[in-house]
């Protein structure tokens, strides 16, 4: 078996790549893609912990399924908001979507 540490470090790397995408992208869709990467990293962690530490109960997999559900809902609503904002303001650049800035 591959050591658990490897999985955890790969997942941490994927999470940090996603974090960089969220913080550095101009395009709102790019930000959303970064969030998806981060959620994937969390799922890899959950499944790896399930397989290595508690293979007799499926809690890790169940949690991963719920994370996937939430990710799907988040992608649908997030993209709908982006499309609506694009229609209204003609831009998907997060810097220019500052109508709620105080």
């Amino acid at each position: 078996m591959i050591p658990l540490h490897w999985w955890l470090i790969v997942a941490a790397a994927l999470f940090c790549i996603g974090l960089y995408g969220v913080l550095s992208r101009k395009n709102a869709i790019g930000v959303l893609m970064g969030i998806e990467l981060m959620l994937n990293a969390v799922n890899v962690n959950l499944v790896a912990f399930w397989r290595y530490i508690t293979p007799q109960v499926l809690t890790g997999q169940i949690f991963a399924i719920f994370v996937i559900t939430v990710a799907a809902a988040e992608a649908a609503v997030g993209l709908a908001i982006i499309i609506a904002a694009y229609r209204r303001r003609d831009t998907v650049i997060v810097d220019e979507l500052d109508i709620m800035r105080w």
Binding site: A12, I68, L79, V92
Partner: protein, 176 residues
């Protein structure tokens, strides 16, 4: 080192290159459309991870929901909001180097901590022989979802319904 172990390690490395390479492509690619295609590559690498971790059902779910639904949805959104974004200056904002620094710092801290912890891994023997839960994983998952986890399961269905209606209302053309 047994052959089995070597094969698993090689497969792991291949999927890691796919996942992390795809992820890097997502965040640095100059065109947003290419980013979305790299995202598909990254999701496919994660599918491989789930297969390697004996989570067959999750691998199928990942393939169907992430690659089949979310990635396609993102591609649609990019197509619908194109034009403006097609040829423009860089895709990153001015604070990208701070973001890179923060992400790198967090990775270094995480890696150092994760490496040092002595995880309470189940015994080698328990890991090697496929346990009951793994061999009957699909049916056990169904039983768990409708047994101890039935309330989160129902809440998730309500969440999906809310997201569905919300997405339709938000993206609807407003007639003036």
């Amino acid at each position: 080192m047994p052959v089995d172990q070597i094969v698993k390690t090689v497969v792991f490395v291949i999927f890691t290159v796919m996942t992390l390479g795809g992820g890097l492509g997502v965040v640095v690619s100059p065109r947003i459309f290419h980013s979305a295609l790299f995202l598909v590559l990254s999701f496919a690498g994660v599918v491989g991870y789930y297969v390697l971790l004996d989570a067959g059902f999750l691998a199928a779910v990942q393939l169907l929901i992430y690659i089949g639904a979310i990635a396609i949805l993102i591609l649609f959104a990019i197509m619908l909001s194109r034009g403006l974004m097609a040829e423009r200056q860089s895709q990153s904002n001015q604070q990208w180097w701070i973001a890179a620094l923060v992400a790198l710092l967090i990775f270094v801290v995480l890696a150092a901590v994760l490496w040092r912890v002595d995880w309470p891994v189940a015994s080698q023997q328990a890991l090697a022989s496929p346990s009951n839960a793994i061999s009957q994983e699909g049916s056990q998952l169904g039983r768990d979802l409708l047994g101890p986890y039935v309330i989160p399961f129902e809440v998730a269905s309500v969440l999906l319904l809310v997201a569905l209606i919300g997405a339709v209302i938000l993206a609807r053309e407003t007639e003036s």
